[in-house]
């Protein structure tokens, strides 16, 4: 296991993923991105000089204290907002707006209450006019997340975990090359969360997309990510970049993970508490 602090992006050994085309995912680059909000005529800096890189097929976790700007960063990557300074690039092309190749899974599933689960999942295909040609994918994805029996249910009938799975399905049906996850499991109870983390890991392995995961749960970062990026308080800068190349599926009790955990917690200023 290599623990590296930030300098340049180190070469990363791909974790083992059986029978997978390694370049399904997109390459993501953030070049000296800074962002600020204009609040009552006084600018509020949120991100400062963020430069990072995600290689195709990586799952990068972004950890940081709450309010530090993690979600803002994700919105910039998704193209929902434009950065005040700097550039974001996906596969070498500047990100200048939302695009179905980089789908977001938000903390709140935000399913459309007036649509059934199936109809919600098919949203992306419908928006792009691909429903007729690629409709079969909806059923596949529903099966993948285990919601086939609830395809005709309405969002208000689903539990929190099921709704989040539906949101995941909605993202996956578009076969994104970059999946952006904004604390997707944050609202779930810990049992569901643990189960979903396992599901997420296996989904990612099977599909091969690049994933950017924002979380405040250290365990989650450890279990899922190939690389953990620690952000400072607002205005956020990258404090550390820690590589984790333990193989999947990972076990929480793995003693090797303990070292990574220690390093991460130290970077977060919680080194004495675990």
């Amino acid at each position: 296991m290599v623990v590296a602090s930030i300098a340049a992006a180190p070469a990363v050994r791909q974790a083992q993923r059986p029978g997978q085309t390694p370049h399904r995912g997109a390459a993501l680059e953030l070049l000296d991105v800074s962002h600020r909000f204009d609040l009552d005529d006084r600018p509020l800096p949120v991100l400062e000089h963020i430069s990072l890189r995600a290689n195709p097929g990586e799952l990068v976790a972004i950890l940081g204290p709450s309010g530090c700007g993690k979600s803002t960063l994700l919105r910039l990557v998704a193209g929902l907002d434009a950065p005040s300074f700097g550039q974001l690039r996906m596969d070498g092309v500047t990100i200048d707006g939302p695009d179905p190749s980089r789908v977001v899974v938000f903390q709140d599933p935000t399913l459309y209450p007036w649509r059934s689960v199936r109809s919600n999942v098919a949203l992306g295909l419908e928006a792009r006019g691909l429903l007729r040609s690629h409709g079969a994918r909806v059923e596949e994805v529903l099966q993948l997340v285990g919601l086939s029996h609830f395809a005709n249910a309405y969002p208000h009938q689903l539990s929190g975990g099921m709704a989040q799975r539906a949101a995941l399905a909605r993202a996956l049906v578009n076969e994104p090359r970059l999946l952006i996850l904004d604390e997707p499991l944050g609202k779930l109870d810990s049992l569901t969360r643990i189960a979903m983390q396992g599901e997420l890991a296996s989904l990612w392995q099977r599909a091969g997309f690049t994933a950017l995961l924002v979380t405040h749960d250290v365990e989650e970062a450890l279990v899922l990510a190939t690389r953990v990026i620690v952000l400072s308080e607002r205005p956020a800068r990258i404090k550390a970049e820690i590589i984790n190349d333990r193989p999947y599926p990972r076990h929480r009790g793995d003693p090797r993970l303990a070292d990574v955990r220690r390093e991460v917690l130290t970077q977060l200023g919680l080194g004495d508490s675990w």
Binding site: P100, Y112, W114, E126, H156
Partner: protein, 339 residues
């Protein structure tokens, strides 16, 4: 209570609510009360003579009608435990009793005692007379008013909806239209009458315009409110999934705003009824508002009350219809909101 009825109850084909004993008590007391209330009304009407020198033609018939209503609870009493739909009559029993008492008091105070002066307070048989003698004109009026209402309401709702979506969606459009809406919307229909008639080519179009205006204003305001209040998260989701502007408006904003739109539609319905009377002052040959005005100018208050009753009935039915429509379109709300 006979044991045989107990036997019947203890092996019912349908689920019984609560222990069998309670149901029997309630049924018998309620049913008897309702029956005797209506029979009392019938007897009072028939055997207490009307005030001298009055010429109510249908006093006897009214008594017969009261007696006939009493049959309802009687029938439900005897057969209701077996036949499920008749159980609905049980729920109506308190209202049935209250209605009987009210009608009896009305009858006594007008036709029998003349405590309330004519022509302002016709007795029930006066209103009955209107229905029996004048039903062709009333029916004609119902159809004519419904036609006018339908035209005005549909046009007003459609335009109001489009305007509301436009204002809610585009700030530029909102800048221009919003002040107009604010000032023009609340103006009373009577103020519009002469202007509308002068500008528009015919009185029919002017009447339709008045009703459309009354409908369109609340629909526009509420649609606007609904569209403007759509959570930005909904838009974020759709945008990241590759939706274009048309998709955002038609498949995200409008469905999300539909609950508000329906509130607007309800308000518009009430408004359009209120304006109906004014709208029918313009060159109309038949209609409920027209009939109402005519009755009023002849001081034929029985006719006026009859027309008002019919109007209330129609308004209530239309509201029920609108509720049904909402139930179908907004069935997804059932789990979220108490309605």
């Amino acid at each position: 209570m006979s044991s045989s009825s107990l036997d019947r109850v203890s092996a019912p084909p349908i689920a019984v609510l609560g222990p069998p004993q309670t149901i029997n008590y309630r049924v018998w007391i309620g049913g008897s009360a309702a029956m005797s209330a209506w029979l009392g009304a019938a007897l009072l009407t028939a055997f207490w003579p009307d005030v001298p020198d009055s010429d109510w033609e249908y006093t006897r018939q009214l008594a017969v009608i009261f007696a006939a209503v009493a049959v309802g609870p009687a029938f439900a009493l005897l057969a209701g435990q077996r036949i499920a739909p008749l159980r609905r009559i049980w729920r109506a029993i308190p209202w049935l009793i209250a209605l009987a008492v009210l009608l009896t008091v009305w009858e006594a105070v007008t036709a029998k005692l003349a405590l309330l002066p004519m022509p302002f307070f016709p007795p029930p048989q006066g209103v009955l007379e209107v229905f029996i003698d004048d039903w062709p004109r009333l029916l004609d009026g119902v159809f004519a008013s419904l036609k006018l209402l339908a035209r005005g309401y549909l046009v007003g709702a459609a335009i109001g909806f489009v305007v509301g979506v436009a204002i809610g969606w585009s700030r530029a459009i909102g800048y221009w239209i919003h002040p107009i809406l604010r000032f023009v919307g609340p103006l009373p229909a009577t103020a519009w009458l002469p202007l509308a008639f002068f500008v528009l080519p015919s009185s029919l179009i002017a009447s339709t315009f008045l009703i459309a205006l009354a409908t369109g204003f609340p629909v526009a305001v509420l649609t606007w409110s609904g569209v403007a209040g759509v959570s930005s998260a909904y838009y974020d989701v759709a945008r990241t999934l590759g939706a274009n502007r048309w998709f955002l408006i038609v498949k995200v904003a409008i469905p999300a705003a539909l609950p508000y739109v329906f509130v607007g539609l309800f308000m518009g319905l009430g408004n359009s009824f209120a304006v109906l009377v004014v709208a029918e002052m313009l060159g109309v040959k038949s209609g409920l508002g027209w009939y109402l005005q005519w009755a009023q100018s002849w001081a034929a208050y029985a006719n006026m009350y009859a027309a008002l009753f019919v109007m209330a009935l129609i308004c209530s039915s239309l509201i029920t219809l609108l509720f049904r429509l909402r139930d179908r379109l907004l069935s997804w709300q059932k789990g979220l909101v108490r309605w």
